[in-house]
Symmetry: C2
Subunit: 258 residues, 2 copies
C-alpha cells in the first residue's frame, strides 16, 4: 500500500503492533458489511477471507485487543464492530482540514468515506485568493492566511495536505505550529516534523513505480525464454577521469524532469 508505509519507528503503541493497527480498518470494513446484512456472528476463517488476510493472523490481531471471541462459535459482529471502533478512536468526532483545494483536494473533499466514520471536514484551505469563499463540496474555501485561527477554533488535530510539492513543507510547519499532530500527506515530498507528530504519506507516483518494477520483472522472466542477455550486463562505471556532465554510458535515456 500505499502506501505509504512507515515513518514511525514502529513504536508498539500500548502493546498493539503497528501492523495490527494497520489491519484493524480492514476488519472493521468487513464487519460493517456483515452488520448491514444482519449477520450475528462470524468465524475467524470467514472474516479473514472477507478481509483478505490469513485467519491465524486475524486471530492474533484480535488477541491483542482482548478475548472477544467465543470458542466453537466465532465473534459477535456488533460487539466486535464496537470494540474495534473504540480502539481506533472512531467513537469520537475528528475534525479534519484539507489544505490545497486543487483537483485532488476537491476530490478528497467530495469523498464520502470522510464523513462516514467519525471524520468531519471542518474546513477547506487554499492559498489562492480567487478560491476564497467559493464552495467546494458544500463547504466554502477559506484563505490560508487564516490557517492558524481555523485550526484553533475548530480544535483540529488532523490535517490533510493536498498542495503542490513546493508548498507542502511550509504548510506542514504551520499546521504543526497551530496544534495539528497528525498529517496525511498527498504531496510528493518528504515532510520533516518534530517528534510526537505522525505523518502518513499517500504517493501515487511511488505506487506506480513499484508496480512498474514488478511488471518489468514479470516481462523479463517471460522474455528470458526467447532471447538471452536479459541479465544485467556489466555497465561501464563513471571513471574518475571521465567528464561528469554527460551520462556515463553515453546513451542515458531521457533523464526526466521533476
Amino acid at each position: 500500500m500505499a502506501t505509504g508505509r512507515t515513518h514511525r519507528p514502529a513504536t508498539r503503541s500500548r502493546g498493539i503492533p503497528e501492523a495490527t493497527v494497520a489491519r484493524l480498518p480492514l476488519y472493521l470494513r468487513a464487519l460493517t458489511a456483515l452488520s448491514e446484512r444482519s449477520v450475528p456472528t462470524v468465524s475467524s476463517e470467514e472474516l479473514a477471507a472477507a478481509a483478505g488476510v490469513n485467519s491465524a493472523k486475524l486471530r492474533k490481531d484480535f488477541s491483542y485487543l482482548g478475548s472477544y471471541g467465543t470458542r466453537g462459535v466465532g465473534y459477535d459482529v456488533e460487539y466486535l464492530v464496537y470494540q474495534i471502533s473504540r480502539e481506533l478512536g472512531l467513537t469520537q468526532d475528528w475534525p479534519v482540514v484539507i489544505v490545497g483545494i486543487g483537483n485532488l483536494g476537491a476530490a478528497l473533499a467530495n469523498y464520502g468515506g470522510f464523513a462516514s466514520r467519525g471524520f468531519r471536514v471542518a474546513a477547506l484551505i487554499d492559498a489562492d485568493p480567487a478560491m476564497a469563499g467559493k464552495p467546494v463540496a458544500g463547504i466554502p474555501v477559506q484563505h490560508s492566511d487564516d490557517l492558524e485561527k481555523i485550526i484553533q477554533d475548530n480544535g483540529v488535530s488532523i490535517g490533510v495536505i493536498a498542495t503542490p510539492a513546493g508548498a507542502a513543507q511550509p504548510v506542514c510547519d504551520r499546521l504543526v505550529a497551530a496544534g495539528v499532530t497528525s498529517i496525511l500527506n498527498f504531496a510528493p515530498t518528504v515532510l520533516t516534523v518534530p517528534d510526537g507528530v505522525d505523518v502518513r504519506k499517500v504517493d501515487l507516483s511511488i505506487e506506480l513505480q513499484i508496480l512498474a518494477f514488478h511488471e518489468q520483472r514479470k516481462a523479463g522472466e517471460e522474455a528470458a525464454a526467447h532471447t538471452d542477455g536479459s541479465g544485467p550486463a556489466a555497465v561501464t562505471r563513471p571513471g574518475s577521469d571521465d567528464s561528469a556532465d554527460q551520462g556515463p554510458d553515453g546513451d542515458v535515456p531521457a533523464v526526466m524532469p521533476a
Copy 2:
C-alpha cells in the same frame, strides 16, 4: 504508507527485497532534485537525509543493486538516477488506463506525476454513457463497453481503478481478463486477483483511521495525568443468553453505514 502495504507474499524479486523496492522511488526523487541542481556527487548521509531514511539502510539498499558508489567520495548522481530508473523499469513507456472518472479519477488524470516518469495515460474509461466523449485532462472519456478493446489496442498492463467500491471487483476482473497484470486500487474494497497479478491499494479512509488511532493514544496518555480510568475498563461480554440484535453494551454509539 499507502500505502497500502503488502499484498504480495514478500517474494524477493531477483534478490531485491520488497522493502528496498518501495524505497527506490524515494531515492530517485531526491536524486532527480539533486540532478536539477547540477550536483555531481552525493554521499549516503546526504542522500539519506533528503529521502528521510537511515544512511545505513540506504547503503544496504544500493548494495542490492550493485556497487555503484565510490568510497571516500559518494555516489555519482546522474549514474545513480539512470541505474535506479532502469531497475524500476522507468526507462520504458508504461501506458496506463484509469477506470472510473469521477472526482478522484479526474484528479488522477490531471495529476502531473503521471506523465513525468514513463507513465502515460493511454485512456480514461467510465461506465456512465453521459461521460463518453467528454474530454478530461485533454483525453476523451471512453465507455466501459470498449474496455477490453482499449486494453489490447494500447498494450496496457497497468490499470488504475477509481470506481465506487461496488464496481471495483467486476472492473478488476475485466481488466485482468483483458491482460492487465498490475492494478492500483483506490476503491475501498479488497480485490481478489489470480496469481501473477499485482495489486496495490491506496485507501484514504484506512490512512485516516490509523492516524486517529495514534491521535487517540496521544490524547489518552496526556489525559492520564489529569483523570484516571483511561485504561480499558472491563466491558460486559455478549452472553449466550443475551439478545443478539442490540449492541452488547446497550450504548453502542452510532454504528455507521458503509
